[in-house]
């Protein structure tokens, strides 16, 4: 059977509209690629998908490279370019790449990549939750998953007795597991609260998330308030959100975890498309809705746990980015999800650059930057949507 991929093979035959009655297989030989609606782009074609993703990938690459110029140490443009050139051409010894090269290699590149991973993950999780809840305003924060993850990590710090200064002081894996446990526990509680008739109504879930979020935040504040100030200071700084990373070693584990999870979500893009149509429709189309939803929530909680453990609470990326990307490229999750990941990553890299240059040499928490940029957009959507939402 030929696939749509041969759209560029240039066949000229006019489409035959199949008119056979009764039998569904024996459609006459048809040049489906000549269908007017395929040509006008009413459905996503592979060509369009690749084109958009290639541009976004190129854009993300440029953003990441350019953002390495900025940081606590002032680097002139020519030094920066020379260091970049050395990084590409020479072997990576400290002598060969010079002091600027060392800063780029050991500090800025890991940080930029971390920002990209965190932003991309938040955006792809946001897109997933929005489809799951059929609400374009859903987001890991609205649901309380991030607060749950943060609470798990805060509790681990409180019980552990050590000072907390970010995930890397305790080991990324340990902290991620606590974040996952907290995030998943939140989802389980929300699920149980909102369950009725054996299935899960959407609005109950959202409301439960809002309430739980408030309670979890209060618990986090309570826990930080009973710690000694020396221990809670690092915790509070982490909670406000930062993508600082001590070198490459910490980056790799989180990169592997996040890539696998995001890939798994992406694999379910066609099912997510169907889920947006309503649960009855999805079930009548053969999707095992309850099982798929549970799995997606678990993977979302894993990803949020991992991301929160390294970067704290960074809000609005998960909601605003997928929403804007959907307006630009359409609602098909096969394009929306990877596009949102690329845009979300770039957005967070830019926000982090603003965070570390605006009041340089001191840094503002990147969560503050994304909230100040994303909050008004969120409010605008909320007002615009009010008339249409149930």
């Amino acid at each position: 059977m030929r696939s749509v991929r041969s759209v560029r093979s240039g066949e000229q035959t006019r489409p035959l509209i199949p008119t056979t009655v009764g039998s569904q297989t024996s459609c006459p030989v048809t040049r489906s690629l000549e269908f007017e609606w395929v040509k006008t782009g009413a459905v996503l074609t592979e060509r369009h998908q690749r084109l958009v993703l290639a541009w976004l990938l190129a854009g993300a690459f440029v953003v990441m490279i350019v953002c390495t110029k900025f940081g606590a140490v002032d680097v002139t443009g020519s030094d920066w370019l020379a260091a970049l050139w050395n990084l590409v051409t020479s072997d990576h010894t400290d002598e060969a790449i010079g002091p600027v090269g060392v800063i780029l290699l050991q500090v800025r590149f890991p940080r930029v990549l971390m920002g990209f991973l965190v932003g991309g993950t938040l955006a792809i999780v946001g897109a997933t939750l929005q489809a799951l809840l059929r609400n374009p305003l859903a987001d890991p924060y609205v649901l309380g998953v991030s607060s749950g993850a943060a609470l798990g990590i805060t509790a681990a710090t409180l019980l552990g007795g050590a000072a907390f200064s970010g995930a890397f002081s305790m080991g990324v894996l340990t902290v991620s597991i606590w974040g996952f446990v907290g995030g998943l526990a939140t989802l389980v509680v929300i699920y149980t609260l909102a369950q009725s008739h054996g299935r899960l109504p959407i609005h109950g879930l959202l409301l439960a998330g809002v309430v739980l979020n408030a309670v979890l935040t209060a618990l986090i504040m309570f826990m930080t308030s009973i710690m000694e100030p020396a221990r809670s200071a690092g915790l509070i700084a982490w909670l406000m959100g930062s993508v600082a990373v001590p070198g490459w070693s910490g980056l790799l584990g989180i990169a592997a975890c996040v890539t696998a999870g995001a890939g798994w979500l992406l694999y379910h893009a066609p099912a997510l498309n169907v889920l947006t149509q309503g649960e009855e429709t999805a079930r009548s189309l053969g999707v095992d809705v309850e099982r798929l939803k549970k799995r997606l929530y678990v993977v979302a909680a894993l990803l949020v746990g991992a991301v929160v453990s390294v970067s704290g609470m960074i809000g609005f990326v998960g909601m605003v980015v997928p929403h804007l990307v959907r307006m630009a490229v359409g609602a098909d999750h096969r394009l929306l999800m990877p596009a949102a990941a690329l845009v979300g990553g770039s957005f967070l890299v830019l926000s982090d650059t603003v965070a570390r240059t605006l009041l340089a040499p001191s840094e503002i928490p990147v969560g503050v930057v994304t909230a100040l940029a994303g909050g008004p957009v969120f409010l605008y959507f909320l007002l615009a949507q009010k008339s249409r939402m149930v």
Partner: protein, 286 residues
């Protein structure tokens, strides 16, 4: 008459496409004063036949349709789809035989009409990583989508956003999505509800043509007795979860039956074109 079926098996017109046998069902929280939502219901549907389920509000007709679609599980009895209980059929296999046009709120996500119809191909797609990329649709998928859109007259709307359509256009798109599944049984929940006259006619014409040309077995739930009278070969009248009457519209739509089912008097005369029963509100009752 033999009709070649999709999976190569032969099927004969006249054997029931679907059979509902002694089906009872209740929700976890039953309605007050009534233990069963659907109680001991039996009827069948043949290929090429349109069966209407009518009855007062809360009579269990939508629940009955959901039972037939496999969205609810019967507590007693069984529902057979082409001779096999639907409980034994995996969801994807079922979705390749039976399609449902549910009543669900308008989607908020900006999918185009063609994208929406293409979702009907979900049960036919082959799972695998390569299907995540766009363009994984096979030729057969696009042909089925095109045919479904042509038959429901939505080709001209293909690149419009589903959220921008009127209710009648949206209903035809949802029927097209169901047709893209290439089903042999089609279930419709209130297909003409909230539609103005011309859109009601459009939807009725599409439904009628599908039964005739595609030989689909069609079950529709409706409030509108006149729509049922015009479209349906047989009507199942339910009240409080049980079947009160079953038969052709001429046999069923009678003042005494309607009085016992709906508890009110109506005027019934003949439709000037079809000669079938036509229901009007009675001035005396008003």
């Amino acid at each position: 008459m033999q009709i070649p079926s999709f999976n190569g098996l032969e099927r004969t017109v006249g054997t029931p496409a679907m059979a509902v046998e002694e089906v009872s069902f209740r929700y976890d929280r039953p309605q007050p004063g009534r233990s069963w939502t659907v109680e001991q219901v039996s009827f069948d549907v043949a290929f090429g036949e349109i069966v209407g389920i009518v009855g007062p509000n809360g009579s269990g007709k939508s629940s009955l349709l959901k039972l037939m679609a496999g969205l609810l599980r019967p507590d007693a009895g069984a529902i057979y789809l082409e001779g096999r209980p639907i409980a034994d059929r995996p969801p994807l296999e079922m979705a390749r035989i039976l399609a449902l046009v549910p009543q669900e709120p308008a989607p908020l996500f900006p999918f185009s009409v063609a994208e929406t119809v293409l979702m009907g191909r979900f049960p036919h797609r082959k799972a695998g990583w390569w299907n995540v990329g766009a363009g994984a649709e096979q030729e057969a998928d696009l042909v089925a989508v095109h045919r479904a859109m042509a038959e429901t007259n939505v080709l001209a709307l293909a690149d419009r956003l589903i959220s921008d359509l009127s209710g009648g256009e949206r209903q035809r798109v949802l029927i097209a999505r169901a047709l893209a599944q290439e089903p042999r049984v089609l279930l419709l929940d209130e297909p003409t509800a909230f539609l103005d006259l011309s859109h009601q006619i459009d939807v009725c014409a599409v439904v009628r043509r599908l039964a005739k040309e595609r030989q689909l077995a069609i079950v529709l739930v409706t409030h509108d007795l006149n729509v049922a009278s015009l479209l349906c070969g047989r009507v199942v009248m339910v009240r409080e979860g049980t079947v009160r009457a079953i038969g052709t519209p001429a046999e069923i739509i009678k003042p005494e039956i309607l009085r016992s089912v709906y508890g009110c008097d109506v005027v019934i005369d003949r439709h000037p074109e079809t000669g079938g029963p036509r229901v009007t509100l009675s001035m005396q009752a008003v």
